[in-house]
Amino acid sequence: MTAPPIPAGPVIGIDLGTTNSLAAIMGPDGPRVLLDRDGEALIPSVVSFLDGGRHVVGRQARAMAILNPRRTVYSVKRLMGRSYEEVAAERAMLPYAIGPSDLAKLVLVDIDGRRYTPQEVSALILSEVRSVAEAALGRKVEKAVITVPAYFDDSQRQATRDAAKIAGLTALRIVNEPTAAALAYGLQTRREGTIVVYDLGGGTFDVSVLKITQGVFKVVATHGDTHLGGDDFDQLIMGRILDLVAQRTGTDLKVHPEALQQIRLSAEALKCRLSSEERSALEIETGSGAPLRYELTRAQLEDLIRPWIERTLEACRAALADAKLKASQVDEVVLVGGSTRIPLVRRAVQELFGRVPHCELDPDKVVALGAAVQADVLAGGSRDLLLLDVIPLSLGIETIGGAFAKLVTRNSTVPCRATEMFSTSVDNQTAIEINVFQGERELVKDCRELGRFKLRGLPPMPAGLPRVEVTFLVDADGVLTVSAKEQRSGVEAAIDVVPSHGLTREQVKGIIKESILNAQADFKARDLVEMRNKAHNLVQGTRRVLGMQEMPFTAEQRRELEADIARLEVLGRGEDVAALKRAADEFGSKTQALADDVIGAAIKAELLRASGGLKG
């Protein structure tokens, strides 16, 4: 068989995480993560909004969390595709403001009165991932495979796809994170088997049971705790340190946010060291007298975190029970997430499943690496792997009395479709409204509303006569599209989609347009910074030359240069990039001539000295 044309340009895999995000790509020796200029792969999923409409993403943004807490957004993944009511419980834990939207059941992030959808914030993170990838590859990147938790429903997947679109990326495929982890380990070569993916990250814990049957991956059960992770362990250590400081010095550091931040980072580093060392210590500056020493052994840390680890094991047992499996029936266990480096976690998982878990790959990078494996398939690189995913929740429509009629049952292989016949109840009715839900319960009020589909343009007929065949198609990403045709007339109905928790196509388009405008503002801001730096360097260099005693400047030249410097400094404090650029360019060419003279003079002096030396 001849292959269809291969998409142009590279396709990268992106792990868009709650705490960190990163990209990977398939290379000749397998998948590899893409590094930024500092050699780092992990980009903190944090966006900090600055003055003048600017923002920073990643490590820089995370550093701003203390200084700029109300305008620094993290954990935005928790808000994706959700309504304000659904995430209201999160509000107390988030230092930034969130609010409801007038348009849909959509939560918005509020930064000084400017409201952002979670899709837009995620798009800023994706843009950063994208520019790191482009710098690493030296090529433009426009296509990606993006991972999501297995339990993400249609609205959350759609929100992820919209975020990519806003970031100028086409999400060729949305892949489940546990499936990606299994791909990173090459477990797809197994035709049959049961895989458990244990994912303990910074702030969330997920466990998924995957079944491979006849080469098809199915997520058969998933459990977890959306607020359990390495951050909790840091907090435990921090609490101990604060107690020690209070006890020894009588100082309560809780009221000093900067000191707290410092201690949090030290506690995290201490925790990480204890994964390889038996005991470790840190010193705390208390501001008065000698620094305090705090020592912790691995055994003590294990005692501290044991109750949390036990909770993850409980979730594993629940997932196994849902999958109707015994721990001994599991063929492979895969560890994902930075917190699985903790030896106690590995021991506990190994003990529960009675087998050594896979941890050969970096647990922070496994998901991105797996996404790159699938990205390679989509880029036309490999046709060996066929990843068939399933729809995580049943999909259906509201019928009489608020009952939920399932059209596609959960765990059906996607793409899948269902058709349903509809008719009218009133003479000459030309429109029908269909409410689509996702869930496993009997009544729609217990399921999640995905959206309302309004069919328009039906030919007018007596009530009950039209036969409208509505096709629900769930694509390879688990995302629904609906089409409808009136069978008697053959008229294709127009469909307006009103997503309950997401954005309409028009809204996404609007955001994209706006963000292009924003991008221009971003460019301006960046230009200004660059130009200021350039002017600053010019001024510094010229000052140095002016300070040299041996330089034969006339008094007039000196006055002129001083005046130019003063003008440049005034412009450098302003916002007018064009004026600053003009002045800097002029000054640059003037000082270039000067520099030539300086070099000429230096050479002349050197020659004189040299010839003098020869003579002498």
């Binding site: 292959a3 269809p4 036309g380 068939l388 479709r417 198609l473």
Partner: protein
């Protein structure tokens, strides 16, 4: 019962006669399905009650590779849409044909449309037996060992009935009512199995 002929066409790209109505096995082209294409025709299988499952699975996976939207990303949005639609049909075909009871119901509907719905009347003897099984299942709900034993018994009963209707000879009778009745009885027994937590 009406005889079925697999819709044949030639591949517009290479001219070969495709085994499946969804894709050409010779050149990999996605095909526009002829009207009335059946799940059997989609998988390139003869419309028979007994299916060689291993061979059918090979065909399913081979066609999945040809049809899956993953492999049509470079050919534009329309091709991806076609691939999504075709893959959905293929998945539906496989999910129906890979399960014997569902396959037989589907085949009966093809051969004798309406026969299955027209033969809902089950014998009082069978209904009494089914009611008893349901009650036993309910009583065994809290006792796993008892439930497992009952499930094994019902499963054997299901298998016995299935074996009878899987034989092509059972499909040679001109009257489809006996087949329809057996398939209805199978539905009832499978529901008991499901209630017992036996999803197989």
């Amino acid at each position: 019962m009406t005889a079925l002929s697999a819709p044949t066409a030639t591949c517009p790209r290479c001219g070969a006669a495709p085994a499946s109505t969804l894709a050409c096995q010779a050149c990999g082209a996605l095909l526009d399905e002829p009207a009335g294409a059946t799940h059997f025709a989609r998988l390139g299988l003869p419309p028979r009650p007994d299916v060689d499952l291993a061979a059918a699975e090979r065909a399913y996976l081979r066609l999945s590779r040809a049809l899956h939207p993953d492999f049509h990303g470079g050919a534009g949005e329309a091709a991806v849409e076609h691939a999504n639609r075709a893959s959905a049909l293929l998945n539906e075909a496989w999910s129906v044909l890979s399960l014997p009871a569902e396959r037989l119901e589907y085949l009966l509907e093809l051969r004798a449309p309406g026969a299955l719905e027209g033969a809902k009347q089950l014998s009082p003897a069978f209904l009494a037996e089914a009611l008893e099984l349901s009650e036993e299942a309910e009583a065994a709900a809290a006792r796993p060992a008892q439930a497992a034993a009952l499930a094994a018994r019902v499963r054997a009963e299901v298998d016995r009935r299935l074996a009878a209707v899987l034989r092509p000879e059972a499909w040679q009778a001109p009257d489809p009512r006996a087949l329809a009745t057996t398939l209805h009885e199978l539905r009832v027994l499978r529901r008991v199995l499901r209630d017992l937590g036996d999803s197989a």
